[in-house]
């Protein structure tokens, strides 16, 4: 493959493998000097992996990277910056305890002699100039970065990059954390930078915005680039059509025929006018034996739903289980009324990684396994053994530490912990994140099994195939509100994406 001279950065056949996942599969795409190039694709398509390779944070397993037509190796973020490539991360690389000017000028200072005086006036002046260039002249260079909003921090990081004569600026889902006003500000900056000849690679889920500011759009799916299109007469529908068609792969074989629920059954969980961080006026209900899927973009509010329902974060509105109202911000009450929650962060909030499989299984129902303050070891082992068998978890022995299991088996044990509490409602957040395909399928069939026994399941997921395969009903969130409800035959990728992405 020969590099087109107009391409400032060219990705030629790049492959990146993670354990069990082929994140990038011989990808090729060229970014032209001075364009705004949007990269879109479903969650897990490989967008961030590609951007991390450009940032020098990940090394490709195969393929070539060309900058100005010459092959380069990007072994560290410093290498990337030396090539004029700057990636603005979502977890920003800023120093919160230092001032705006200090942060913008940090690279300049690093390039100077360590025994020189600090040119404070010059730093302030130059920082202000860099900010003014981005239309941010009002921001005081002496403010501590830790006191800024996320949007302002992003702009400070961009200002620093621009000062370093970044020729390529990568923004990976920059507006997930931004308000509408802040996003608009960011677009102004993007347009301004393009006018100055900076190439901008823009990863976003917001199709409207992509159509507004991009010169070209590349669509990714399953670690491949599907198509790169000129943004002329493109519509949101066209973009969605290019994004769908995910390879559901082996998981599909496991997909059972979902039987429609008889009408008129009583709801176990009802939620009325729920308001919480990032959520507004959300109402729905779940019946016994039903798997309700909840989908949406990263900033749709769906990631806060589990915490709000379970009472880990503040909420308003009415939540009832079997007609009994559940007070907010009280997880213990939620457990008592029969709700169990499996959070997305398995390694952090989910499991006790340093404790044994047996201890994890009973950790949510200790009173039942205690006598006069002592844990009844025999009962614990019996229950743990029963759960391990039921969930078909592959472990060497019950005393094995949870942290040493594979992701799929960890998740099975965590599910087991929920099941031991005999919940009426099971709320799952990203139930198969980071789990290999085989284990995913097993977890799906376990979930359908427990639903069949009459439990109500709420499955909050970014993975559209997962929702399609398991849920009888799918609710889609957008901008904190319900934007659609799909049932039975109408649940498909296009329908979900359209409700999640188009405005």
């Amino acid at each position: 493959m020969t590099a087109s001279p107009a391409n400032i950065v060219e990705i030629a056949g790049v492959t990146k493998r993670f354990p069990g996942v082929l994140a990038l599969d011989r990808i090729s795409v060229g970014f032209r000097a001075g364009e705004v190039h949007a990269v879109i694709g479903e969650n897990g398509a490989g967008k961030s992996t590609l951007m991390n390779i450009l940032a020098g944070d990940l090394r490709p397993d195969g393929g070539r990277l060309l900058v100005d037509g010459k092959e380069v190796k990007l072994a560290s973020p410093l290498d990337s910056r030396a090539q004029g490539i700057t990636v603005v991360y979502q977890e920003l690389a800023l120093c919160p305890t230092m001032s705006v000017a200090d942060n913008i000028m940090m690279s300049d200072m690093a390039a100077r002699s360590v025994v020189s005086l600090l040119p404070r006036d010059m730093m302030r002046r130059e920082a202000r100039a860099a900010l003014t260039r981005l239309g941010m002249g009002g921001l005081d260079p002496d403010t501590k970065v830790g006191r800024l909003s996320v949007a302002e921090m992003q702009l400070v990081e961009i200002a620093g990059a621009v000062r370093q004569n970044a020729r390529v600026l990568v923004l990976d889902e920059p507006n997930s954390a931004l308000s509408k006003r802040e996003s608009e500000r960011l677009f102004e900056v993007v347009k301004q930078l393009r006018a100055e000849g900076v190439t901008i690679i823009y990863v976003s889920h917001h199709l409207r915005e992509v159509l507004d500011i991009a010169d070209r759009v590349t669509v990714m799916r399953d670690g491949r680039t599907i198509v790169t299109m000129d943004n002329e007469g493109l519509s949101e529908d066209q973009l969605i059509r290019a994004m769908v068609g995910r390879d559901l792969g082996a998981a599909l074989q496991w997909s059972l025929q979902v039987e429609p629920r008889p009408e008129g059954e009583d709801s176990v969980l009802t939620v009325e006018n729920l308001e919480a961080a990032g959520l507004e006026d959300v109402s729905f209900s779940v019946r016994a034996g039903e798997i309700l899927g909840i989908g949406g973009l990263p900033d749709s509010g769906k990631d806060g739903l589990g915490d709000a329902l379970f009472g880990l974060s503040a909420r308003r509105g009415k939540v009832t289980i079997d007609g009994k109202e559940l007070r907010g911000a009280d997880p213990l009450a939620a457990i008592r009324l029969g709700m169990s929650f499996v959070p997305a962060d398995r390694r952090g909030a989910g499991g006790l990684l340093r404790m044994s499989v047996a201890d994890n299984v009973v950790s949510a129902s200790l009173p039942r396994f205690s006598l006069a303050g002592f844990v009844r070891r025999g009962a614990v082992r019996r229950e743990a053994r029963a759960q391990v068998a039921r969930l078909d978890a592959r472990i060497s022995h019950l005393g094995q530490k949870l942290g040493t299991l594979s992701g799929g088996n960890q998740q099975k044990i965590i599910l087991g912990r929920s099941l031991v509490t005999n919940p009426r409602v099971l709320v799952l957040h990203e139930p198969t994140r980071g789990i290999d395909v085989g284990a995913k399928a097993e977890i799906y069939s376990i979930l359908r099994g427990i639903a069949g026994e009459g439990m109500a399941i709420v499955m909050i997921s970014s993975e559209i195939p997962e929702l399609i395969m398991n849920a009888e009903r799918v609710l889609v969130l957008r901008d904190g509100r319900l934007s659609g409800e799909l049932t039975g035959q109408s649940i498909n990728e296009t329908a979900i994406l359209a409700r999640a992405m188009t405005s």
Binding site: L78, A93, L94, C95, P96, D102
Partner: protein, 340 residues
């Protein structure tokens, strides 16, 4: 409805912001506390506000202060050094033994200071390239260096005087460093502290190296991405700390003028860290100033002095110092925004 939730949160955040803005200059809070304590002692005792007593306080806090200056660099860089009490003992005793052995002043001083530098380098390398948390690395070094001091002195006291073999001219200068007065009134220890503090303040606030220390402690990632060598900066902070702890230990022996490896500087690291933290440095790195550290050292010194003048029992003194640490740091935590 959600709007009211949100605007409420914003108003609360704004309220806290105002308050923290008042206390933003952390030194201001510590300074006010110091002034209040001094005013109280001025009225409560006759002896407090006299030049003799104030200079005496200055002398008493000097060694603590010299070490706290070093600790400021280490804490800002995001690390901590628990080995300073041992370094203080080792370097002082080593220099003392060399003087007794008839060495000249400069070679003896040089060896003591060099020992501090070596300890600093080891601390630094273990905590960076060695990937040990500095809490663990320097905890190990605390014992190692203390043990080395015990082995070196065979556990015996070291007393620097003519009878033990010191050269008279060397002894005069050595004693002057620890016991003498500049212009017959300002204690030499205080002079050293003042000079070191001013130099450190200039370095930390006005030099490129100082900038890097803040950057490394504030966000190692940001520093690295900008091209700052995080490990190098941290190692230098440890070296500076080792050097200053060694110097303080040497001055201590010159003042007393005897020491014993089993006792000298025992537990001193906690006083040093306490003074630095009262002065506004944070254990999580990125924050702290020399001015704040000086104020922190003075608060602890003035408290000790005042409680003695008021005839408060030493047991109660200890307790009061502990309260000051908790209140001083607590005020900061309770009034500033949680998210940095």
């Amino acid at each position: 409805m959600a709007d009211t939730v949100r605007s409420g949160a914003r108003a609360a955040a704004a309220g806290r912001f105002e308050l923290s803005r008042l206390l933003r200059v952390r030194e201001a809070g510590v300074f006010i506390a110091l002034v209040v304590i001094c005013l109280f002692l001025t009225f409560a005792t006759d002896a407090f506000l006299t030049s003799v007593n104030l200079l005496n306080i200055g002398r008493q806090v000097s060694l603590l202060g010299i070490m706290a200056v070093g600790m400021t660099f280490v804490l800002i860089s995001g690390e901590v050094d628990l080995s300073v009490g041992s370094t203080y003992a080792f370097s002082g005793l080593a220099t003392g033994m060399l003087i007794i052995a008839g060495w000249g002043l400069l070679p003896a001083l040089g060896v003591g200071l060099f020992a501090g530098v070596v300890i600093g380098v080891v601390n630094g390398i273990l905590s960076t390239y060695g990937r040990l948390p500095s809490l663990i690395a320097t905890l190990g070094m605390l014992s190692i260096v203390r043990g080395a001091a015990l082995i070196l002195t065979n556990g015996q006291p070291v007393t620097v005087n003519l009878r033990n073999g010191a050269q008279p001219s060397v002894l005069d200068t050595f004693n002057f460093m620890g016991q003498g007065y500049l212009f017959g009134i300002i204690p030499m220890q205080l002079v050293f502290f003042a000079v070191i503090a001013v130099l450190a303040w200039l370095v930390l606030s006005y030099s490129n190296f100082g900038f890097r220390v803040y950057a490394v402690g504030g966000s190692a990632k940001a520093a690295r991405v900008s091209g700052i060598s995080v490990n190098t900066v941290k190692i230098w902070a440890f070296v500076l700390m080792g050097l200053l702890a060694a110097f303080a230990g040497i001055l201590s022996l010159a003042f007393l003028p005897s020491g014993q490896a089993g006792r000298t500087g025992l537990g001193l690291e906690l006083d040093v860290i306490a003074a630095t933290i009262v002065g506004g440095a944070s254990l999580s790195g990125g924050e702290g100033t020399i001015l704040g550290t000086i104020l922190g050292v003075l608060i602890i010194g003035v408290m000790r002095n005042g409680l003695v003048l008021m005839g408060v029992s030493p047991f109660v003194q200890e307790l009061m110092i502990g309260l000051v640490i908790i209140i001083a740091v607590g005020i900061d935590k309770w009034t500033t925004r949680r998210t940095a």
